[in-house]
Symmetry: C2
Subunit: 635 residues, 2 copies
């Protein structure tokens, strides 16, 4: 930011750098904490209320969103929510059963999981579009993490550990939201999630080969190599009836999806697809006595609502580490997925969701779920998309789904016991095919190679190693990128844009003019320990590369939003080194926080206030007229 | 950077944003790699040589600095180097023996370590001030890391493992330098090193209580609690003769140090101090038959030069993990210390050192050392300071020290066998007292609380847990800081400085004027996955907090040196959300790299070129006259 200079060469009044005393530590600390944890300033509307009673009401509305939307609810909205709720129920039943299979828990648990959690979310959730349900990736990850520590011979114990993991997920999610640590979820970048979803889709697709081909024996591992090896080894077990039925179902489902992409208004065709597959499958299996022809079915499903499961929570030290790991990792992924999805749909409607509130809602949903025979739930993409397309207006659609599920559990559950496994496999496969986002990956490749690497790390890590390793590796690469960024902040040399007092990157704007004897550098941000050596070398190299003798080095700090002790010492060191070569260093427009620290550390004192300027142009003028003759002694 | 606007409201010719096609991936990649690994552009002077022979000569001089300084060497310089070399030898003998004790290796190894490595450094090192020798912190850390995996019952094996660790240190350091990974050392911040050195000094001081008090039994642990407990438990073994002698020595040494700080010219008093203690100690111990009075001595020291030790390198898989860990951790610390110290002294003389070259030199020094019965060497602070004060001119002083050490080893070694352990303890304690940098810690506390936390983490981590944990914790906190920085880049609202076209932070410059209907924000850097949610919330909050209706949001990107896909999507999302509220978003001065990505990702296309400006003033003018009437449809 340069000044329009109209008068003399000295800095005009009221235009100098503001050297007033730094703010106190507590003022700065409070402001930092606020930026870090309360960047959206959620309590402002509440504190603005004049009246104590109104304040309490607002506070209640803030923490329990149902109080905000329910009073404004009307029949008009109910009509939409009713339709949406019924539509997502038709998806909830087949998905519930399928994903329960992925998690190796009894199918009925999947149905239970679509009954209690939606009610909890409807009370505490802040998204109008999100539909609650189980998700494939987390289901498989739970099975993988808990399953590896114990034999699945004891399904009772395994189920109890799943409930415990869900409880831990809930507590963890609630704590993150309550402590406003949404920042953790921020580190799961879009690229990581794209890659992770894609990789997960691949391994889940391969897992379905068991059901699709009707194989008896199969590996317990999830990586591509083991699964393909297992399929090849057990190829003699292939049952053509099963494979044929599976392929038919899959083609049917993909056709319904294709119709949806062509005519978005016919979204219900694809939403109903899985239910049709299940019902047709049940009918066929029942009529032809499928089990005699090698077509396996889900098996007995008892009527009745969720039994309590709080007494089953198992904190045995033997399994606790893997249970905690499973709970926390799946919790984080579920949050990232649920929040991202909730947000994407909210944006389309110009609504707002609150990440921290969502975490609390997800947390409560899973805590209550773990007490009522449910396993991990979040906001799955497919269900939420259907909910959105069906025109949902409020979280009431989740209530509708909950009520429908109750009816299913009370009266219709036994019907679904005839569901052929091959139908479930086809449903899962069809869902997974939609999760491999080739286009996004190609887009990443074209725009940002590093984002692409992050994405591919997750993709191949998940498909060839395991889900948690893939995810961790991808996050590690992202963090490495963040560190590399701060270790090598890009700096550039500025030149004057002709007939102006603007200074811009000479590489970006080749028409800019350089001034003889001046080197003007714009430093990247931040300047601190991890990049101080680099910045020193880079500045010295720029001076060295000048063909002519340099008299002034102008450092534009307007882009530097943070500096630490090492950074300041480096700048002083540069000044000393250059001073001995007759080059004077001038500092331009240090920002608030930076200038405060510079004053505290006596940096300004050491270089002299007359060497700090508000704009490059001020500095250039001053160099030309004043500083050229005076010399500040080295301290 | 703002324009001095002299004419109309439209952007004048040659002043617009440069939307030319992005550079190709390979151009960008090459430039990134160069910035990351070759920021000092070391080969430029070489490639500038016209002649092939001269090129080779320059290249040789670059890789083997001795070729650079030796041809210019003269008697004048030799006089200084001779004096410096002899002075540091007087320090090398007592320090060598003392630190060998800390590393639990035979004292003679400490003397060997000051003979071969100085020659290697003199050939490859690039610092004129550095004096080669062993250091206390790494000696203790080696003993701690390797000692914990094996009983010290087998001193042969232990010694072989120490050689192996030194070899690994050497290879690791050489590789870091060769691969130009100096960036790793950058992550050991000044604050970490201050805290680490302080904490190490505390635990080494406490370790010396054994020698000082003449105790027989002592703990093998290093943390404060265990050591104090051990001293209290074994207090009955205290020998007053030993304690008295120790305190006398310590007072003498501290007095010599005090003299040095008062009269820097008398540096040799403090440099000679340890040698005086050793010689007086030897004499007294010899005369009074100290061992009969409970004063233990170093024990037999054989005459003769370093025997080869290459045949002792032990890569047994049983010990390899801890040996590699010890080698790499001590290697990194030794590098950080040596390079930082070499650089600090070089700066005082306005000389330059090359971090990557130093790494190669240290690496070769330790590889050769491990073949010739030496253990880990680097550039210790005390020796280097003495070398500098004695007026060293070139690495020749190390050669002089090496020759002196050779004479000591050949003829005088047996004398030092009478050195009383209490004298060595006093020497170490005196050295350690100088390493606890209270003033620096207080300075950190005052200027930067986060730097202070990093420092204290290292300090207390080292003193109460262990050296490697303390170091790792401190680095983790530093990295957390770096991540927090990128997760919450500080953004600010700008206002116009009266009578100018400069826009500055309204908080920093309260005199600035805000414009009705405009919100001008300066974003911190970078804008990417880890902070995109934050930036979105923060921008929306700023708009929400405006008392009046907002018509334009001006985003000043001049400080944003990097953006990724998630960041760009966030900006588009902000634009969509605001667009629905009738707020238009304008982007100002995207930097080279950012603009390239924006073009590639069709960002510019989506928001429209007419919404991208070179300066805030241009944007404000355009908003006032052109954009107020037109509306770009949402894509």
């Amino acid at each position: 930011m340069e000044a329009a200079r109209t008068n003399s060469s000295s800095t005009p009044k009221g235009r100098g750098v503001n050297f007033s005393a730094p703010r106190s530590f507590f003022v700065k600390f409070r402001s930092k904490c606020k930026e870090t944890f309360f960047s959206d300033d959620p309590f402002k509307p509440i504190s603005q209320e004049p009246n104590g009673l109104l304040k309490t009401k607002k506070l209640l509305e803030y923490f329990v969103p149902v109080f905000e939307w329910l009073p404004k609810y009307n029949l008009q909205k109910l009509r939409y929510d009713l339709l949406a709720g019924i539509t997502i129920t038709s998806l909830a039943v087949p998905q519930g059963i399928s994903y329960a299979k992925l998690a190796s828990v009894p199918p009925i648990i999947g149905l239970y999981s679509s009954f209690v959690p939606p009610f909890v979310y409807a009370v505490f959730g802040s998204s109008n579009n999100l539909a609650v349900g189980t998700v494939a990736a987390c289901s498989l990850l739970l099975a993988e993490t808990i399953g590896e520590k114990m034999s699945k011979e004891d399904p009772e114990l395994y189920l109890h550990l799943i409930f415990t993991a869900t409880f831990i997920t809930g507590v963890f999610q609630f704590a993150l939201g309550f402590l406003r640590l949404g920042i953790l979820v921020d580190f799961l970048s879009h690229s990581t999630i794209t890659g992770f979803m894609g990789g997960t889709a691949v391994i889940i697709l391969l897992q379905q080969l068991k059901g699709l081909l009707g194989l008896e024996h199969f590996t317990h591992k999830t990586d591509v190599v083991s699964v393909i090896h297992s399929v090849v080894t057990n190829r003699v077990e292939l049952k053509w009836q099963s494979a044929l039925a599976g392929v038919c179902f899959l083609i049917f489902l993909q056709t319904t999806r294709y119709i949806k992409t062509k005519k978005p208004k016919l979204f219900w065709v694809s939403a109903m697809g899985p239910m049709v597959v299940v019902l047709v499958g049940c009918l066929v299996a029942y009529l032809v006595h499928g089990s005699e022809h090698g077509i396996k079915t889900v098996g007995p499903l008892k009527k009745g609502l969720n039994p309590p499961s709080i007494q089953f929570l198992n904190f045995d030290a033997k399994y606790l580490p893997s249970v905690i790991k499973a709970g926390m990792v799946t919790g984080l992924i579920a949050l990232a997925e649920g929040i991202a999805i909730g947000r994407s749909f909210a944006v389309m409607k110009n609504e707002q969701t609150d990440g921290n509130k969502e975490m609390v809602a997800f947390g409560l949903m899973n805590i209550v779920g773990s007490f009522t025979s449910c396993y991990l739930t979040t906001g799955p993409f497919s269900k939420t998309a259907v909910n959105y397309n069906a025109g949902t207006r409020t979280p009431m659609s989740n209530v509708v789904m909950g009520i429908c599920m109750m009816l299913v559990l009370l009266f219709l559950a036994p019907i679904f016991s005839y569901t052929p496994l091959v139908g479930l496999s086809a449903i899962i496969m069809s869902a997974m095919l939609g999760l491999i986002d080739y286009e996004e990956m190609y887009h990443l490749f074209k725009v940002d190679k590093f984002d692409f690497i992050v994405c591919m790390t997750a993709f191949f890590g998940v498909s060839f190693l395991s889900m948690d390793y893939g995810l961790m590796m991808s996050v590690a690469v992202s963090i490495l990128r963040a560190l590399l960024y701060v270790a090598r902040p890009s700096t550039c040399k500025l030149g004057r844009i002709p007939n102006s007092v603007m200074f811009r990157d000479i590489e970006q704007y080749p028409a800019t003019e350089e001034m003889l004897g001046y080197v003007i550098l714009q430093l990247g941000s931040p300047v601190f320990f991890a990049n101080s050596t680099y910045i020193r070398e880079r500045i010295l190299r720029w001076i060295r590369d000048e063909p002519e003798a340099v008299e002034f080095l102008l450092l534009d700090l307007s882009g530097v939003s943070s500096i630490d002790m090492t950074g300041m010492e480096t700048l002083l060191e540069v000044r000393r080194i250059l001073g001995s070569k007759g080059v004077k260093m001038v500092v331009i427009n240090p920002r608030f926080e930076v200038l405060e620290k510079m004053i505290l550390a006596h940096f300004v004192e050491k270089i002299g206030k007359e060497y700090v300027f508000l704009s490059i142009d001020d500095a250039v003028q001053a160099c030309r007229f004043n500083l050229a003759t005076t010399t500040k002694p080295d301290q």
